[in-house]
Symmetry: none
Subunit: 224 residues, 4 copies
């Protein structure tokens, strides 16, 4: 499965015979994707510093030098990986919130499911973990991540919480003031499964369900 391009967004296929003999145009993108996939696997297994580009190249099925045709250097590869992979992650959540008409309790459940499906499992989880682990050493990346993922995610939560207040479904504004509290268990779950999966696996969905229950009650839910 490819990491990038999760949304079925049609990538503009270059018009046939556009240039001189530009046939590979698509192969180029596929190869780039293969490299990013390989990089994700390698980086999330070994971390940035311990990942050898030899391994990335091998996994991607290309020669080591080929990496440099697509990315300036190891760091650029890492950055591209984080930036391009994470981008699409929040789109569906945005869409979900925008078009939702049920109760805020239901909306919360749907969002948590989305979160669990799309972020807490699969390659995205590895990326989040990577970000958590290496972020301190890549300040710009942390800034990017904050701007493109974190702040947008928190804004979304605030929006949902405000919706609940507006509709009289919630009575506490805690989630508006501290949206982090809503995602905290998800972060914990990612971290937990990154560290202790082998020792004591955590049932992420059960945890999130319990969290939702706690949250609704804590926020003064009433089935208006």
């Amino acid at each position: 499965m490819s990491v990038v391009g999760m949304s079925a967004a049609g990538i503009a296929v270059p018009a046939a015979g556009s240039g001189r003999r530009r046939a590979p145009a698509m192969a180029r993108e596929a190869r780039r994707r293969a490299i990013l996939d390989a990089a994700l696997a390698a980086f999330s297994t070994h971390g940035f510093a311990e990942t050898k580009l030899d391994e990335v190249a091998r996994r991607a099925g290309v020669a080591k030098g080929t990496l440099y045709l697509y990315f300036t250097d190891k760091e650029a590869l890492f950055r591209a990986l984080v930036e391009e992979t994470i981008a699409a992650a929040l789109l569906d959540a945005d869409a979900l919130v925008a078009g939702f008409s049920g109760t805020t309790g239901e909306l919360l459940e749907r969002l948590m499911t989305l979160l669990a499906d799309r972020v807490l499992e699969g390659p995205a989880a590895a990326l989040v973990r990577l970000m958590l682990g290496e972020g301190a050493r890549f300040p710009e990346l942390a800034v990017f991540y904050h701007g493109h993922v974190v702040s947008r995610g928190l804004a979304l939560i605030r929006q949902v919480a405000q919706r609940g207040l507006d509709r009289g479904e919630l009575t506490s504004d805690l989630a508006v003031r501290f949206p982090q509290l809503v995602v905290a268990p998800a972060i914990l779950a990612v971290v937990w499964n990154g560290l202790f999966a082998a020792v004591e696996p955590l049932d992420t969905r059960a945890l999130l369900a319990a969290h939702r229950e706690l949250l609704l009650k804590g926020l003064g839910w009433r089935d208006s």
Copy 2:
């Protein structure tokens, strides 16, 4: 300030000029501590792989070779750092819970303050962050950490939650079943401040206060 030895145990200073040149038995321990302190500073700044032993030695005020008189290799130093530093962290919490006689709500507040003071700030936070970042690459260390810190911490929470249930102060057993929910915001705070302190600092104490409010309400608190 020394990282280890948080308990104020007075370390016997060896009588000056004990032997000919035999470094006083205890100087060994002091030096070991200096190395661990230096290692904590270095590792939490740069991560495991990017930390040069040259820097650790310099910070500790010893020669590079000396490190090897105290630790087998870089990894052993890292392991010792995590293991020895974290040990004392939970002792006070244990003591607090054992000897507490107030309401569970108050106990919870005291525990959170303790958490904030001792784990979310200062060197321990760096260690937790280090564990989060590098843990995946040190499975044994994760096992150790789980056994000595995580499971003990969660047991403590379960104990407090059960106490609340037993005393009729809480009506929900969610915290008994998912004690992780109680610490999740603390984890989030550590991670946040590790990544985004410069972009958007998080008021950890306010967050934890809000969390406590949410938690008590969510767990069906009543001032019996």
Copy 3:
């Protein structure tokens, strides 16, 4: 300006549209020349080892792979450059000496002017400098250079010196025995301008004029 083909030989331009797509037989030669020109520029700027074939290709306006259709490898390109470019340099000098009827002093002046115009300035100087710098690493090339340029040049000088003796214009046979003494300042000038042009430029022509004066006097010139 093309480096090679200093003689104004008109090269027959092939009739347009000779075949189907067969690049006109002469376009090949033009392209080869373009590559050699590009190579001269690159090699004399960066030296052999530091010259990237990428740059040569770009300067020549061809693809990198195309270079290999014209030259076996980088070294062959370098060799061809030296060999083909230097060839024509001595022809005019030969002609000048052969057809000269004035005094040997005048001949010497004409030769020096020729030398200054054709060797000490322009692309040829770059080539000579290249030969001086890289020659030690290309022994065969040094042999070639010696055979085709150096020994012929020295022979020419000997011939002129002998002419002066025969005509009674000179009394010393030093220049016959050590013709190198005659060109030494030219070599120095090339080297000097290659190294110190920016620090302390050398007036090549003034130097050569002084050298001629010294030389004539030193060789016992008399205006027979």
Copy 4:
């Protein structure tokens, strides 16, 4: 034979027991010298770019990493080589001129012998050749070389020439105006032997003797 420290200048030996246990102090210098010697051999054989540090290390009898304890990088090694080796070269010439009391013709002969002995043969010749070959790619080095060697050398020549004029031994001031003419044959000899030693060796001393003869006559020598 060691390249550096040609003059018997006593290198300050560190006072015994100066520091804590600083024994190697001298070994350090010896090792540095070994590396410089190895570097000279390697660089003058293969040129800068083609010289592998592996070879330098092997020749010097040290590990590759050791090179970096003495020199920042390859370029620094090259620079140090040129700068330190060339330094002492002109000292004796200075001394010779300062303390000479014979005729200028004799002085010239002595200087040429000195030149032949010290610069045109042995390791210094390799260095000069190296400078000629690589100088264009190391502009700062060329500036250094000009300032420390070339301009001082030319000044010395001017001084000798002026001495000749003052004493009435010479009548032409050509050598004062163009001191380069005096050394040109030496440069030529270095170049020649670097390129054509195998094809047609040049008798440097005979060449210089002839040059001296030419020079004296050309400069209007008279045995005042």
